[in-house]
């Protein structure tokens, strides 16, 4: 029952035949321990995605409360951080979906290509060759600072949808379903995010003043 794939599905039903149901006190004790053991990891995960510390704190709380409600057989199990991160991911998606519903992205907004091309559709400045080992680059602290700054310049919802697509490898169809937006909307959103991030990292890292 606790194979690798299934542990991520926090809404799975609990098999109560295999263990006695936990008491409320035991469940709360476990949840308090999750807070001690995994609070920082959950918070860092949420903060990297929503950027607003208060929203990140609320999401951690929501995730732990949801975990407490669903605890059951998960008490004391060593894969609980993965399981809790899985719950947190659902809470993050709910958060982005709410935000997108309140302020839908514009399909006709500028996509950042105007400044790259002349009126005949040719590159004003042809792109350079970016040579880097992605894994090594991802581990460099100074690059991560620049990346975080560049992501923070994108509209928040756009950055979050983009992160799910690019970093978490969520398929576009799945992204549409999760965020309740149309494919055309999501393609435009991702395209604009990609153009914006590429420009910022070009200026501040790859094509910048020798920071490589």
């Amino acid at each position: 029952m606790k194979s690798g794939d299934e542990v991520l599905d926090w809404s799975m039903t609990i098999d109560h035949d295999s263990a006695p149901p936990p008491t409320a006190a035991a469940a709360t004790a476990a949840a308090t321990r999750w807070l001690e053991d995994h609070g920082d990891a959950l918070y860092a995960y949420a903060l990297a995605r929503v950027r607003d510390p208060h929203v990140a704190e609320d999401l951690v709380q929501e995730a732990l409360l949801a975990g407490l409600s669903a605890a059951g057989d998960f008490l004391g199990w060593s894969g609980e951080r993965t399981w809790l991160i899985g719950i947190l991911k659902h809470k993050l998606v709910d958060h982005v979906r709410r935000a997108l519903r309140e302020r839908p992205p514009r399909e006709d907004g500028p996509d950042g290509l105007d400044e790259l091309f002349d009126r005949r559709g040719h590159w004003k400045v042809p792109p350079t060759h970016w040579a880097a080992d992605p894994v090594a680059l991802a581990q460099r602290a100074e690059f991560r600072v620049v990346l975080a700054q560049c992501l923070s310049r994108l509209p928040v919802r756009m950055a979050q949808a983009f992160w799910m697509r690019e970093a978490e490898d969520v398929e576009t169809a799945e992204l549409c379903r999760r965020l309740d937006v149309t494919p055309v909307n999501v393609w435009a959103l991702l395209h604009r995010a990609r153009t914006g991030l590429r420009k910022c990292l070009g200026v501040h890292w790859f094509d910048g003043n020798g920071t490589k």
């Binding site: 732990l64 559709g121 991030l197």
Partner: protein
């Protein structure tokens, strides 16, 4: 004349259109005509090939960052920790 329009759009795609299609191709399969036109353009345009290389590199870097997210950079603030603990205790009474 339709065949000519198709052929000319394949042979004379502008870089601006190619850039948009390169990005879209990372999120969805392009319709066959657009996909073919983009492939033709990429074989003759080194600037657009480099652009595609840049976008692919960005994706790889972000995937690598996702795997290596450190948890020690931003600890949960103490007041938030206290508030969450109280919320968990409150839920206990409700259980």
């Amino acid at each position: 004349m339709r065949w000519w329009r198709g052929l000319s759009s394949m042979l004379f795609m502008r870089c601006r259109r190619a850039a948009r299609l390169i990005s879209h191709s990372m999120d969805r399969p392009l319709p066959s005509e657009e996909g073919a036109a983009l492939r033709v353009h990429l074989t003759i345009c080194p600037a657009c090939r480099r652009y595609r290389g840049q976008l692919v590199l960005l994706r790889r870097v972000l995937r690598a960052v996702e795997v290596n997210t450190p948890s020690s950079v931003s600890p949960l603030p103490p007041d938030a920790r206290t508030r969450i603990r109280i919320a968990l205790e409150g839920r206990r009474r409700a259980l």
